[in-house]
Amino acid sequence: MVNITVDGRHLSVDENSTILEACTANGIKIPTLCYLKQLNEIGSCRICMVEIEGEKSLFASCRTKVREGMVITTASNKIVSYRKHMLELILSNHKVDCLNCTMNGVCKLQQLCNEYEVKGTSIQGSRRHIEDKLPILDSNPYLSYDPSKCIHCYRCISACNKAAVNGTLRSGRSGLFRTIEAPFGEDWKSTGCESCGNCAEACPTGALSEKRKRKYRSWEVKKVLTTCPHCATGCQYYLIVKDNKIVDTEAYDGPSNHGLLCVKGRSGSFDFVHSPDRITTPLIKNKEGKFEPATWEEAISYTAKRLMEIKEKYGKESLAGFACSRSANEDVYMVQKMVRTCFGNNNTDNCARVCHSATVAGLAKTLGSGAMTNPIYDITHDVDVILLVGSNPEEAHPVVGMQIRQAVKNGTRLIVVDPRSIGLTKYADIHLKLRPGTNVAFANGMMHVIIKEGLTDGNYIKENTEDYEKIAELVKDYTPEKVGEICHIEPAKIVEAARMYARADKAPIIYCLGVTEHSTGTEGVMSLSNLALLTGKLGRSGCGVNPLRGQNNVQGACDMGALPTDYPGYQKVDNDEVRAKFEKAWGVELNPKPGLKATDVFPAAIKGDIKGLYICGEDPLVTDPDTEHIKKALGSLDFFVIQELFMTKTAECADVILPGVSYAEKEGTFTNTERRVQRIRTAVKLEGDARLDTDIIIDLMNAMGYPQPHLTASQIMDEIASVTPSFAGISFERLDNGESLQWPCKDKQSTGTPIMHVGHPARGKALFYPALYKAASELPDDDYPFFLTTGRILYQYNAAAMTSRSEGLVEIAGEGFIEINYKDAERLGIKNGERIYVESRRGKITATARVGRKVSQGETWMPFHFPDSPVNTLTNAALDDFARIPEYKVCAVNISRMD
């Protein structure tokens, strides 16, 4: 701490702070314009200048550090007159067109001019009528740049280069002055711009803006703070609502996103809410197979009747009900409660089954808790090495990707383990471009080197783990040479990666579906856990085993007990004590038998064991592997009811459709990948008969004979807290008071658990699980000579039910494609951009060829979002032994020209 005097006040402030930070922390307001905390502290506008005693010059307080004894004046006559002068100089080159400007009312320049009574200027700027030379750039579907309003504060450039670290918004020079080269011109598609709009968010004027801002003015709207419904990063933003319609979003400085958003969150998270094809009334399929509108009473009683009839006729094990990992915690809780209390079984699951069930199973087994160990901020700031395995966060978790790019830019080493040359490989110290499906071999190879070279953390192993000997024995065989052969990578690179990871003090493992979505997914996860244990990188800052959970509430859906083996909070259904607790809480006898996993439900349906199915908001016909198999399963059911927003492929197969509401129309919570429970809030109330999902479920429960009182989302969370020790301290009240809580949060005093396994692993002693490498279940052969891996792209999400309803996203990326190595393409005569056939043992589809070097020879890659290339027609439903997760990441295909 140092002592300074500001406007006569004596302050003791942090010695590393700037004058601006010190003043702000002490409630002394210094006006700013170009300043963006930690991003744009360049002192361009000089508005924040202050006088320092003994200095002739004035100093930009945003970039001047405090010193012991400094005597500072923040608003003398001279400062005020200089600030006015600065504003006049800025105005001299600014097209003053406030009436037509999107930023009217919120423009920082306008606000400052008002505050300082600057009404205009006689100064003749050098860049007047610049728009004649440098035209407005607005070919990008979302973003537009108008040079005539630009004040060249470089906030957008810093946002792009230092925060989003996209590096596509650069400055140029036009003779005497610096220009902003915004990538929104006619060539926008080839610029590499991710359209994330963080630049627009940063712009203090109307120069660089989201085009949709033209449709409203700041005083016409209300702002509703909520959580993004796409990936599990859990970005916080406001929905901007005008006349009961969401017209925009605005980033909020949330704990996981730090004011950043990606293109989907900013621009693809509200159009679908108001989509005209929303289902607004309950539908019951008639005898001809056509849907007919029904009243809620009809739909609920009909559904309850059909389900109870099946229970009566085929027994209580014949029903199943899936929650959705994109729904709110409260919805999921009620679904599993309904299944357990009304269906009388544990046949409930959620779509985590097909993405991260391997994580839940694997990490629970080895560490005692199946969740991401450390917060996003903790593993992307001030760490030495990031080991990124089977994860493409730039596209699948863009705001995490941005933070990894920040880390790398600030000196963090990056090891990418991925079959594809994903964007981050550009910055990676080492890229291990392994064959799909060889993760276990890779991890064993790393451990071989670490043990052989004595890079293990012997103390940690001794104090906190068990079965080290087993792993040491197992990996003896996994020499770099052998692993290199399995994985198709240079042995030396494995050695280097192992040394780099093991020797680093702070090194998180970050992984995603590239690890889990295999028939050996759980073993893949456990192998990574082994790696962290071996080097003692668990239970402390900047380390851990960090699955980036896929969907917005995939963590929460599992936490809420939409699992066939677990009640909320991973309390086991076959544990008598636990069950007794829930029987008491819910007032019914509960079934002790673990239920069927979602991926086992479909074969069971075909077999005739499952007769009735309730799904809350999933689209397995598109998202689950081997579409034909799912179609057959759904067709085998006696009764199928779905709660949905849209007429999805799966909904078309249902007997009853119950229209629920979206995240923007309800209160609730999502739990992001870092176990952070965050609020969603009602932004709009739409016309039509769609109802709160919890209300629908509660009505159904009552109709099925369970006396479920009507509860609000907040009351449901209180019930969750009452039965779930790890959620005991969480309530809407606390969250609405601004607390950010990561479970375990064991009581009302607890502030949550940012880092897990501190002190010792949750399991007590962590388990080394020796996993032998096993090849993927379907490998290329003469008939199907190519590997096919599936994955996400930045601009769409999952089955695209939400994102495809944003025109801009479709304009940016709206067509299914397949990545092919250029050598394979050359051999087969396939040209870049050509539509080709892709065929597996299970089906045949078309896709547009993208020829390049991103995938290795003999490998292909496809996104799973696009209805024109329904890739799950091809994928293999081979399941992992532990978690029953399907092998989306490896199947064998053939590709051929269409003529």
């Binding site: 360049i42 361009s44 700027g125 610096r178």
Partner: protein, 614 residues
């Protein structure tokens, strides 16, 4: 991502090539230009250099430039000055880096340095009087010698003509050929293309071809009957005598030394200006007209000021500055502590002290100090050690310092004088000089770096046999002061017309007015004084000059090297007092003189005002 080395010939490299030319363009910025226009250029350059980040630099300078342009073009009201000042102060105090701060400070400098020019632009919508572009070499020569004319004559092979052209303004062509500091070369337009013409070198070539005493001086005017006394037979007095005698006046020169020449004889060492060569100039001067010389005659001792006043119609005081300054403090009058001027004079008189095998310390870095140092080497000193407080103290010509270094003189800077240590064994002598290590600090108002005592280095004792003090000279003005001639700190107070307020018959110029300076400044003073004495006596006498500048040929402006005059090898020259400079060859002189751009004809030189009437 692939990293790359900076490509050779990239934009910055190519710009550097252009910037070098731009630098030359600045070096050769012609005299007689509007300073505000120049400041606007600097300001524009600063605007160009703005990175565009901070508002005051990026947009404020543009506004300042707009105001300055309005002022220059006569479109501004008097309030514009205040507006420009306030804006510049704001920019200076708020810019983020030196680009903006210094640019604004430059504008503030201009307001401080050129208030007259600003006012003239606003009130009269034009520059102050006499701001006209002029021929650089002629303008910058204090005596305004017609350089292009004599360079052209040298090119033609007419060396006598060249000497006559020089003499029309400067009757000491030989001395100047050897020792002139050649300010004429400073802004030579040739710099735009390559390098300045070696004007002094060409002059030397001319007097090496035909000695000055062989070239006939112009015929003097018929006798006017006016008598003029010249006190001091140095360059200033000789020049005044020359012109006054050509005007037909009777001139009597009084000098305390045995021989004429002043500092040219008793200050500048033989190896730089052989006395035989000086005599060529003096012989020519004394033969020009009615000149009587009284050597060994000191005013105040042999003749009184009153006597001069009584006997002569006008008196010119060209006393020079021959008293070497001593350093203050104890032991400074010891016999082995010698002012440089006294030392040089003693050597010139043939009374050189015995320096053989001795260790010599020398404080000072001016031309006189260098002369003393190089003389000491030639006297067989074991080592000659020059100490200065800072690098800026080396005011001697770079070539002098370079030559001194070649001759083995040791230079140490950042040492200031502390005190003198008396020799215990030899009363009246010192045995060592104590020096204080310094570190450099900020610059002072005049642009010279200041120093302060180092706190980490200990004082330094330098053992020596002799200490030479080269820290300036002054004039012996006591007698004149007593006679009512106004003086101040060893200088006579005369104006730029060499007139003395309240003493209308008395004129004065040269080192005794300016303090120690160069020969050509003294010559200019003698010339101005002669002219003004003639005017004072009621005449407007003209001096004939038979030589004429030949018609110029257009110069193709092809970049060509500058022919330098080499010195004899250092290992050889340091052992004797023989003239150090080699001769320029005729082919070198031909090429060198051919480089002249003849600015007297091309450009402004042929226009009214191009050659200002001095």
């Amino acid at each position: 991502m692939t990293r790359r080395l900076t490509q050779k010939g990239n934009m910055n490299d190519r710009m550097d090539a252009a910037l070098n030319k731009f630098r030359s363009r600045m070096t050769s910025y012609p005299p007689g230009m509007c300073p505000l226009v120049m400041y606007r250029t600097i300001l524009q350059m600063s605007i160009n250099q703005s990175c565009g980040k901070c508002i005051p630099c990026r947009d404020g300078l543009v506004e300042a430039e707009r105001i300055l342009k309005k002022i220059i073009e006569g479109d501004a009201e008097i309030g514009a000055l205040d507006e420009l000042k306030k804006l510049s102060e704001m920019i200076s105090e708020t810019s983020d880096c030196a680009v903006g701060v210094v640019a604004a400070n430059t504008v503030l400098d201009s307001l401080r340095e050129f208030p007259d020019e600003y006012e003239s632009h606003i009130k009269n919508k034009r520059c102050v009087e006499n701001v006209n572009q002029t021929v650089p070499c002629i303008t910058l020569c204090p005596a305004h010698v017609d350089v292009p004319a004599y360079v052209a004559l040298i090119n033609k092979g007419d060396y006598a003509g060249a000497i006559n052209i020089i003499r029309d303004r400067n009757p000491l062509p030989t001395a100047c050929a050897m020792v002139c500091e050649h300010p004429c070369e400073r802004k030579c337009r040739r710099s735009i293309i390559d390098h300045p013409i070696n004007i002094r070198g060409l002059k030397k070539f001319a007097v090496d071809q035909i000695t000055a005493d062989q070239v006939k001086t112009p015929a003097p005017n018929v006798a006017t009957g006016k008598k003029i006394a010249i006190v001091g037979g140095g360059p200033s007095g000789l020049t005044a005598a020359y012109f006054l005698s050509l005007m037909g006046h009777t001139v009597e020169i009084f000098d305390e030394h045995e021989k004429l020449g002043g500092m040219l004889r008793y200050g500048i060492p033989e190896y730089r200006l052989p006395k035989a060569r000086l005599d060529e100039d003096i012989t020519a001067i004394l033969n020009a007209g009615d000149i009587t010389v009284h050597t060994g005659t000191k005013i105040g001792r042999d003749v009184t000021v009153e006597e001069l006043d009584e006997k002569f119609d006008a008196i010119y005081l060209g006393l020079g500055a021959q008293l070497g300054n001593r350093i203050p403090g104890k032991n400074s009058d010891c016999e082995n502590v010698i002012p440089a001027a006294d030392f040089l004079q003693a050597v010139a008189r043939g009374d050189a002290p015995d320096f053989k095998g001795k260790t010599i310390a020398l404080i000072g870095g001016g031309n006189v100090a260098m002369d003393a140092a190089r003389t000491a080497v030639r006297l067989g000193a074991d080592s000659v050690n020059v100490f200065t407080r800072k690098r800026d103290d080396y005011t001697a010509l770079d070539t002098e310092i370079e030559s001194a270094m070649q001759e083995g003189i040791r230079f140490t800077t950042l040492l200031s004088f502390l005190h003198l240590e008396a020799d215990k064994d030899n009363p009246g002598k010192i045995s060592a000089v104590w020096l204080q290590p310094e570190i450099v600090g900020e610059y002072d108002w005049s642009g010279f770096v200041k120093t302060e005592h180092s706190v980490t280095k200990y004082p330094y004792r330098f053992k020596c046999d002799y200490l030479i003090i080269g820290v300036g000279q002054r004039c012996d003005v006591e007698v004149f002061d007593k006679a009512g001639i106004p003086t101040e700190r060893g200088r006579i107070l005369a104006d730029t017309a060499c007139m003395i307020e309240g003493k209308e018959k008395f004129f004065s110029g040269g080192d005794c007015v300016t303090g120690p300076s160069t020969a050509i400044n003294a010559i200019a003073a003698g010339q101005v004084a002669a002219h003004n004495i003639d005017e004072f006596l009621g005449y407007h006498h003209k001096i004939e000059c038979e030589a004429k500048a030949p018609s110029p040929m257009p110069n193709k402006c092809i970049p060509t090297g500058r022919a330098e005059i080499e010195e004899r090898p250092a290992y050889e020259r340091k052992n004797d007092f023989v003239h150090v400079e080699e001769q320029m060859t005729p082919e070198e002189a031909d090429r060198e003189s051919g480089r002249c751009l003849r600015c007297d004809y091309y450009g402004c030189g042929c226009m009214e005002g191009g050659r200002a009437p001095w």
